[in-house]
């Protein structure tokens, strides 16, 4: 069910909220032991909230306005703080950490009446592209249980794809919403950097992270985005909506209405490793958009092939800083032997509490930031990031939106890419540059290849999420009517 379907069913009294929530909880009970999307299901609490809403609906006679999100179950990625509930970032080091406050986005959704149904599995500290790095076991792709759902928001994506919740929140630093959305056949949005508050999100790479929705439809992603966005005094990197809106009024949306929207296809994204069947999907989508009166032109992002290298220097650097706080002092796992010095307690706790990928990235980040190497690696990467950003700015002078593949392949098998970390890192090849440039990216399903979902990615100008939604809805409608 979509959010508006749920809303209509509730206000028309075709369905009670308790019946609705129970149906999701039953589905989870039936199927989640196979999929493992959730680390914890908050069943009793969800039913209690549903009961409260039902009382309000019963006594209402449609006099009071019931918000669009009231009674809608939502899954939360395990790195989002929800007061009074465990949030572990799928790590052993935070296994029993109970959040003392809620993230701003969680507060906003709660105020809108959403019902949080459980915390979703992820790669530990969001470090990964398959959810195989979870300290609590992998999540499986609902379309093929031998395959990964993608990552790091794999649990969130699987929960929506499996029908465990109509929507989920995830986070995206290099593709962690868009890639699992593509692998699971659903919609995923990474908002413009600064559009959504990161307060209460356990930070991975603070200059790249964004929280975003994973949903069944573009409209649902838009509904959730409009609620969670906005300036927050608790996150100094957020921008006032007025300033965001002034960008929206511009160019893209108006052009779309006048059918004058120009779409760019960056040639550097159509690389050797791209599955030809995925390229076909892009071509087909472009044909459709041309029929709708839009112009598609080839463009160039000359530094595109450097994006992954830049990402795998800048991101681990920030990760090594952000994970320094997990040190057995204020919270989390604490291994203290009487004879240990203070430093030994840090080393032992972190060794025991972090998984292999967390240690690897912390080591790499420490290296690129260390004296003697900082200039050659971190500084160089920062400068190259500027060139990548400039490429996008240049291209957006000629076109209004870019279309690219979301992933180089469909979902790979569990265990296929875990031996060599580099092969896993290559999954981010189409998505990471968008985070480096701070731009919005929307991943949406365009059918299947051999029974596995395929997604394409739309990239827009800063704060032009609305243009992505409008264009996304056109594409979505087309694929709903045609054979996959």
């Amino acid at each position: 069910m979509t959010i508006s379907m749920i809303h209509n069913s509730l206000i028309k009294k075709q369905l009670s909220c308790q019946e609705l929530v129970k149906s999701y909880l039953d589905k989870i009970k039936k199927d989640d032991d196979k999929i493992h999307a959730f680390l914890e299901v908050w069943g009793d609490e969800a039913m209690a909230k549903a009961k409260k809403l039902d009382s309000r609906l019963r006594g209402n006679d449609s006099k009071e306005k019931i918000g669009l999100l009231e009674g809608v179950p939502i899954a939360l990625k395990d790195n989002l703080l929800y007061k009074g509930h465990i949030a572990s970032s799928s790590s052993k080091i935070l296994e029993n950490y109970v959040a003392p406050y809620s993230a701003t986005v969680v507060k906003k959704l709660e105020e809108a009446g959403a019902i949080f149904i459980g915390r979703a599995n992820m790669d530990e500290f969001a470090l990964g592209s398959s959810t195989e790095n979870s300290a609590y076991g992998p999540t499986r792709n609902p379309h093929d249980l031998e395959r990964v759902p993608g990552g790091s928001s794999g649990g969130s994506a699987a929960a929506v794809a499996a029908g465990f919740a109509p929507a989920a929140l995830g986070s995206d630093t290099g593709g962690s919403i868009r890639q699992p959305a593509a692998f699971c056949g659903i919609v995923g949005l990474k908002p413009t950097y600064g559009a959504v508050s990161r307060y209460g999100l356990m930070a991975m790479a603070s200059s790249l992270d964004q929280i975003g929705p994973l949903t069944n439809t573009v409209e649902d992603a838009q509904t959730i985005f409009e609620i969670i966005r906005g300036q927050d005094e608790k996150d100094a990197t957020t921008i006032e909506i007025k300033k965001q809106k002034s960008a929206i009024k511009s160019l893209s949306r108006a052009k779309l209405r006048d059918k004058k929207l120009k779409i760019g296809v960056p040639k550097e994204y159509f690389i050797k490793g791209l599955d030809p069947a995925i390229k076909n999907k892009i071509d087909r989508t472009l044909e459709l958009l041309k029929k709708e009166g839009m112009e598609a032109v080839e463009v160039s992002l000359p530094h595109a092939d450097l994006a992954l290298a830049v990402y795998y220097i800048l991101m681990p650097a920030e990760v090594s800083s952000n994970l320094a706080r997990f040190d057995n002092i204020r919270y989390g796992l604490s291994l203290r032997d009487k004879k240990d010095s203070l430093i030994e307690t840090y080393k032992k706790t972190r060794a025991a509490g972090f998984g292999a990928e967390a240690k690897r990235r912390v080591m790499l980040g420490t290296f690129v930031l260390s004296a003697g190497y900082y200039d050659a690696y971190y500084k160089k990467a920062k400068q190259t990031q500027a060139l990548i950003r400039q490429d996008f700015l240049n291209v957006f002078k000629k076109v209004d939106c870019l279309i690219t593949p979301a992933t180089p392949t469909t979902a790979f098998k569990i265990g296929e890419k875990t031996i060599d970390p580099l092969t896993m890192y290559l999954s981010d090849v189409f998505t990471a540059s968008v985070n480096l440039a701070g731009l919005p990216g929307l991943s949406l399903p365009v059918g299947q290849i051999s029974g596995l979902p395929v997604g394409i990615q739309l990239i827009g100008r800063s704060f032009e999420e609305n243009a992505l939604f409008d264009l996304g809805k056109i594409i979505e409608k087309f694929y709903a009517h045609y054979d996959t």
């Binding site: 109970v98 003392p100 406050y101 950097y193 600064g194 300036q231 005094e233 996150d235 100094a236 957020t238 921008i239 300033k243 092939d305 450097l306 290298a309 830049v310 795998y312 220097i313 090594s320 040190d327 057995n328 002092i329 204020r330 919270y331 989390g332 203290r336 240990d340 010095s341 203070l342 430093i343 030994e344 307690t345 840090y346 080393k347 032992k348 972190r350 060794a351 240690k359 690897r360 912390v362 080591m363 790499l364 420490t366 290296f367 260390s370 050659a376 690696y377 990467a381 920062k382 400068q383 190259t384 500027a386 060139l387 950003r389 700015l393 060599d420 580099l422 890192y425 701070g438 800063s462």
Partner: protein, 102 residues
């Protein structure tokens, strides 16, 4: 620079980085991370050839939010209690830790 990296990512470097990162690693882990890091650094080597200068800075179109006044804000007591409950070891309301200086 890459030759430099290859020469210096030896077991001593790994031990040093592990200490900086406050990680205790087994011998097997040290070997694995050394191998992984060399591979990753080889991969990012392509950046060395990119012409950049001191003047290449990141242009941000965004304005930043205003800073709030530099004043201490009191947390609600209930939230403070929750935070104190998370301390691995405590004495009253104080977080108990090992001595920083021996």
């Amino acid at each position: 620079m890459i030759k430099l990296a290859r020469m210096t990512i030896n077991s001593e470097t790994i031990a040093h980085l592990a200490h900086l990162a406050r990680l205790e690693l087994s011998e097997a882990e040290k070997k694995k991370y050394q191998k992984d890091m060399l591979a990753i650094l080889d991969f990012v080597a392509s950046l060395q050839a990119v012409p950049t200068s001191e003047l290449t800075t990141v242009e941000t179109e965004q304005a930043h939010g205003e800073f709030r006044p530099d004043a201490a804000l009191a947390l609600p007591v209930e939230e403070t209690k929750k935070i104190i409950n998370l301390f691995p070891e405590k004495e009253g309301n104080l977080n108990k830790v090992k001595a920083v200086f021996e």
